[in-house]
C-alpha cells in the first residue's frame, strides 16, 4: 500500500506514521508525510496512491476545499481531525472513515483495516460524489446517480438526466462507499436498488434488471441468488 499523510502538526504526524507502519507491517509499500496542501497536491496526482490520511485544518485553512479534491481521487481518504462536528459532512463527501483526535492505536487500526478488508462502511451515508471535470472538481449528489459501470481503473457514473461522468475511483472502492443503497449486481455494474423496477428472467438463465427509466442492466449469474434473497 502507498500511503500519504497530510498533517501540519509534526508530533501528530510522527505518531500516525509510527502506528501505521506498525499496523500495516509488510502491507505497506511507501509512506510519505507532507505538512502543506501545496506539497500534498503533487503526491495526490500519483496513480499508485492507495490511501490519504488527511487533517482537515491545515494551517488555518478550511479543510473542505482540500477534502473535495482528495475524495475525487482514485484513492480512499481517511480524515483525522480535531473537529468532530465535521464528521457527518466528511462522510457525506465520501471519506472511508473519520478518526477524531485524540486517537489511540486501536482506533487507527480499525480505520486502516477498512481499506485492507474491503469492509463496507454501510452505516454512514455518502451524499455526494466528487468528480474531476475539465480540471475542476464537481460534486454530484448521490440521489442523481442511477448506476455505476466499471471501465478499467476508472468508473462511469450514469445520472438521472441521462448524462455520463467519469470517476477516478475503481468500482470496488465505490462499492465500499455506496454499499448502503447500491448493489453490485454484476462484476461491471453497481446499481442503486431503489431505481430497479423489476428483474427479468430471459432464456438461457440470463437475468436482467429493468430500471424505472426502461434501461436494462445485466445481472451476474453468481450474484442473482444473493440479490433475490436480499431484495425480493
Amino acid at each position: 500500500m502507498n500511503i500519504l499523510i497530510v498533517e501540519d502538526e509534526s508530533r501528530i504526524a510522527k505518531r500516525v506514521e509510527r502506528m501505521t507502519r506498525d499496523i500495516l507491517g509488510d502491507n505497506l509499500t511507501s509512506l510519505t508525510h507532507v505538512d502543506t496542501l501545496d506539497k500534498a497536491s503533487t503526491f495526490i496526482e500519483s496513480p499508485s496512491l492507495d490511501l490519504v490520511l488527511l487533517d482537515l485544518n491545515l494551517n488555518g485553512d478550511n479543510g473542505f476545499d482540500l477534502l473535495t479534491t482528495a475524495v475525487s481521487g482514485s484513492f480512499h481518504t481517511i480524515v483525522i481531525s480535531a473537529n468532530k462536528d465535521q464528521a457527518i459532512a466528511a462522510f457525506e463527501y465520501g471519506v472511508l472513515d473519520f478518526v477524531p483526535k485524540p486517537f489511540n492505536r486501536d482506533r487507527l487500526e480499525q480505520a486502516l483495516n477498512r481499506t485492507l478488508t474491503k469492509d463496507k462502511t454501510g452505516a454512514n451515508e455518502v451524499k455526494l460524489l466528487a468528480i474531476k471535470k475539465r480540471g475542476k472538481v464537481q460534486l454530484v449528489p448521490i440521489e442523481n446517480l442511477l448506476y455505476v459501470k466499471g471501465a478499467g481503473v476508472y468508473t462511469e457514473l450514469f445520472l438521472t438526466d441521462g448524462t455520463k461522468e467519469l470517476h477516478d475511483k475503481s468500482l470496488e472502492k465505490l462499492e465500499q462507499l455506496l454499499s448502503h443503497s447500491f448493489e453490485r449486481i454484476h462484476k461491471s455494474y453497481l446499481v442503486k436498488m431503489s431505481v430497479v423496477k423489476e428483474i427479468i428472467v430471459k432464456s438461457g438463465s440470463k437475468y436482467m434488471a429493468e430500471l424505472k427509466n426502461g434501461e436494462l442492466i445485466p445481472i451476474g449469474r453468481t450474484k442473482y441468488k444473493d440479490i433475490k434473497a436480499k431484495w425480493l
Binding site: 501540519d8 508530533r11 505518531r15 502543506t36 485524540p102
Partner: protein, 559 residues
C-alpha cells in the same frame, strides 16, 4: 406606543372643545367718565351725555366717576341671584341703580392710607334690582398708583352658582395641568442629576418648571388677593416665565436637531426675545404674543430643518408644532398658548424617550460585546483545533518520552492558569500578556517540534493592553508560517511611545506559507479590533501586512 402622544393630543383638544358657551344674560353699553365727586352721579337717571368716553390721565389719586348702562336680558329665576365681577385699576365704591353694593379700598384717600382691597372682586346684585331691563353701574374711584391707566376693565354678570362652578373647574384643571408639569420637571431634574452629561433632560426639566410657574401665576389670581398697585409685578413674572420658555424650547430643538451656525442663530434669537421683553413698557399682551410667535417660528425652522435632514423623531415634532398652530388659528391665543405648550412639550418628551431608548440599546450592545469577547478569549483554549491537537501530541509525548510529557503538561497548565486570571478583565499589564505568549510558544514547540524564539524591545511591563491581542497575533503567526532553514520561527515585539501614541510592532520572521487573503478578515483580527474598540473607542489603528522577513503587525493606541 407611537400613537400614545397623538391620543393625548386629541384628548386635550376634545376637553377644550367641550367648554360650551352659555347664552348671554346681559348687555354692556359704553362706559363714560367724569372727574369730580358728586353723590348724585350714582343715580340711575342722570344726564351723563357730556361725560367723556376716555380720560388719559387723572393725577394724584383725584376722585372720578364712571357710569355704565347695562341691560339685563334675562331676570334671575326664583332663589337665584346674580353677581357682578369687575377688575378696575383703583380703589372704589360701587353702585347699582344708585344703591351702594360694595366698597374696595378707600377712594380719594390712597395717598394717606396704605393700599387696601383687591383687584378681582365679585359683588352681589340685589335681587329686586336684577329685573329684566336697563340698569346703571356707577363707580366712584381713585387711581393713585397708575394715573395713566384709567378705565380699562371688564364687567361680567353671571349666576352666582355658575360663576363659582366655572371658576372652580377652570382653576382645578389648570392646576392639575401645572402639577403634571411640576412632576415632570422634578423627575427629569433627578434624571439629569444622575447623568450630568444629558443636558437635554435638564432643559426639558427647566421648561416644565417654567410652564408650571406660568400656569400657577396666571391662574392663582382668583384666590390670591392682589392689590391693583402690584398687579404689574404679576404680569412681569408671567412674561419672564414666557421669556424663559420661549428661549429654551427652540434651544432644546436645536440640540436635538443640530444645524450649522447654531450658536450664532441662538444668540440672535436671544437678543430678539430680550428686546421684545424690554421694550414697550406695560404692553404685556403684545409682548406675550410676540414672544410666543417668535418661539413658534424659530422652533418650526429648526425642526423643519431636522425633518429635511431626516433626523429621527423630527417629523412627529413638526406635526405637533403644526397642530399647535392650527389650535392657535382656530381658538385664539389664550387657549392655544397652553394647548400649544402642552403639545410642544409632548414632542420634546417624545424626543427624550427616543434618546433614552437609543442609549439603552447602545449600552446593551456594549454589554453583549464585552460578554462575547470574554467568551471568545475563553474559547481560545477549549476550541477543538487547539485542545484536541494539543492532547494528541501530549498523549504521544507521554507514551514516548514521559519526562518531556510532564514538562508539556506543566506548560499547558500554566497557559490555562494565565487565561483564568485574565478572562474577566478588559485591560491587563503587557507583562502578563507576554508571559501568556511565551507559554503558548512552549506548548507549540512541543506540538510542532520547531524552535520558536521570542524577543522584545523597549517593553514597559506596567503598560496595559486588552487581553489576548498579542496572543492572537502570535497564533496567526504560528498558523501561517513555515520555519526558516534552521527550523526556527522568530517573533519580535517592539514598543515605542511618544506623547500622543503608544505603538506595539509585532514581527514574525519565517517563511510565509502563502498570501493571507485580504478580502476575508479572519476571526483573529476581528477579535483584536473588537477588543481595541472596547477599550479605546476609535482611538486606535491596526496595520497587518506582509514584510520581507515574514509578517508585520502594528497596533497604535492614541491618547
Amino acid at each position: 406606543m407611537k400613537s400614545a402622544p397623538f391620543f393625548l393630543l386629541i384628548s386635550i383638544l376634545l376637553l377644550l372643545s367641550s367648554c360650551e358657551q352659555k347664552p348671554a344674560i346681559f348687555k354692556e353699553h359704553q362706559t363714560v367718565f367724569q372727574i369730580g365727586d358728586n353723590p348724585a352721579w350714582a343715580k340711575k337717571i342722570w344726564n351723563d351725555s357730556n361725560w367723556k368716553r376716555r380720560i388719559n390721565l387723572i393725577p394724584e389719586g383725584e376722585i372720578f366717576w364712571s357710569r355704565t348702562r347695562i341691560d339685563i336680558l334675562k331676570a334671575p329665576e326664583d332663589f337665584q341671584s346674580y353677581v357682578l365681577q369687575i377688575d378696575p385699576y383703583g380703589e372704589y365704591e360701587i353702585f347699582w341703580d344708585g344703591v351702594l353694593i360694595g366698597k374696595n379700598g378707600n377712594p380719594g384717600k390712597e395717598a394717606e392710607l396704605p393700599p387696601e382691597g383687591e383687584l378681582w372682586v365679585t359683588y352681589q346684585i340685589p335681587t329686586h334690582l336684577s329685573a329684566e331691563g336697563t340698569h346703571m353701574l356707577a363707580l366712584r374711584l381713585s387711581n393713585y398708583y397708575f394715573p395713566d391707566h384709567v378705565g380699562y376693565y371688564e364687567i361680567e354678570i353671571a349666576d352666582y352658582e355658575d360663576l363659582l362652578t366655572d371658576l372652580l373647574v377652570k382653576t382645578s384643571y389648570m392646576h392639575v395641568f401645572a402639577g403634571a408639569f411640576l412632576i415632570a420637571s422634578i423627575y427629569f431634574l433627578f434624571l439629569f442629576l444622575n447623568n450630568r452629561k444629558e443636558y437635554p433632560t435638564l432643559i426639558f426639566s427647566a421648561c416644565c418648571f417654567l410652564i408650571c410657574g406660568l400656569v400657577l401665576t396666571v391662574f392663582s389670581k382668583d384666590y390670591v388677593p392682589i392689590h391693583y398697585s402690584v398687579h404689574v409685578i404679576r404680569l412681569q413674572i408671567i412674561n419672564s416665565f414666557l421669556l424663559g420658555i420661549s428661549f429654551l424650547i427652540p434651544y432644546y430643538f436645536s440640540m436635538q436637531f443640530p444645524y450649522p451656525r447654531r450658536g450664532l442663530s441662538l444668540i440672535i434669537y436671544a437678543v430678539v426675545l430680550i428686546s421684545i421683553w424690554l421694550v414697550n413698557g406695560h404692553a404685556f399682551d403684545y409682548k406675550t404674543v410676540s414672544m410666543t410667535l417668535s418661539m413658534w417660528c424659530f422652533s418650526f425652522a429648526v425642526v423643519a430643518h431636522g425633518a429635511y435632514k431626516k433626523i429621527r423623531g423630527a417629523r412627529l415634532v413638526l406635526a405637533t408644532l403644526l397642530l399647535s398652530m392650527a389650535v392657535f388659528l382656530a381658538s385664539g391665543f389664550v387657549v392655544s398658548l397652553y394647548t400649544g405648550l402642552g403639545l410642544i412639550l409632548l414632542g420634546m418628551l417624545y424626543l427624550l424617550t427616543l434618546n433614552m431608548k437609543a442609549q439603552r440599546l447602545a449600552y446593551e450592545r456594549s454589554l453583549v460585546r464585552s460578554t462575547r469577547l470574554r467568551l471568545e478569549l475563553l474559547k481560545k483554549n477549549i476550541q477543538p483545533h487547539f485542545l484536541m491537537n494539543t492532547l494528541t501530541s501530549l498523549i504521544d509525548w507521554v507514551e514516548e518520552t514521559p519526562k518531556k510529557g510532564v514538562l508539556f503538561i506543566e506548560a499547558l497548565a500554566k497557559e490555562f492558569d494565565l487565561f483564568n486570571q485574565i478572562e474577566d478583565q478588559t485591560l491587563i499589564p503587557v507583562a502578563r500578556e507576554i508571559e501568556l505568549c511565551r507559554t503558548h510558544l512552549e506548548i507549540m514547540g512541543y506540538r510542532k517540534e520547531m524552535q520558536y524564539t521570542w524577543e522584545e524591545v523597549g517593553i514597559d511591563p506596567e503598560q496595559k493592553i486588552p487581553p489576548g491581542i498579542l496572543h492572537t497575533l502570535l497564533e496567526n503567526g504560528i498558523t501561517h508560517s513555515l520555519p526558516q532553514e534552521d527550523n526556527n520561527v522568530r517573533f519580535k515585539l517592539i514598543y515605542v511611545s511618544d506623547s500622543n501614541c503608544k505603538s506595539y510592532t509585532f514581527l514574525t520572521f519565517a517563511k510565509e506559507l502563502k498570501k493571507r487573503s485580504d478580502n476575508k478578515e479572519g476571526t483573529g483580527l476581528k477579535y483584536i479590533k473588537a477588543r481595541l474598540t472596547e477599550s479605546y473607542q476609535s482611538n486606535w489603528e491596526l496595520i497587518s501586512e506582509p514584510a520581507d522577513h515574514g509578517w508585520k503587525s502594528v497596533i497604535k493606541i492614541y491618547s
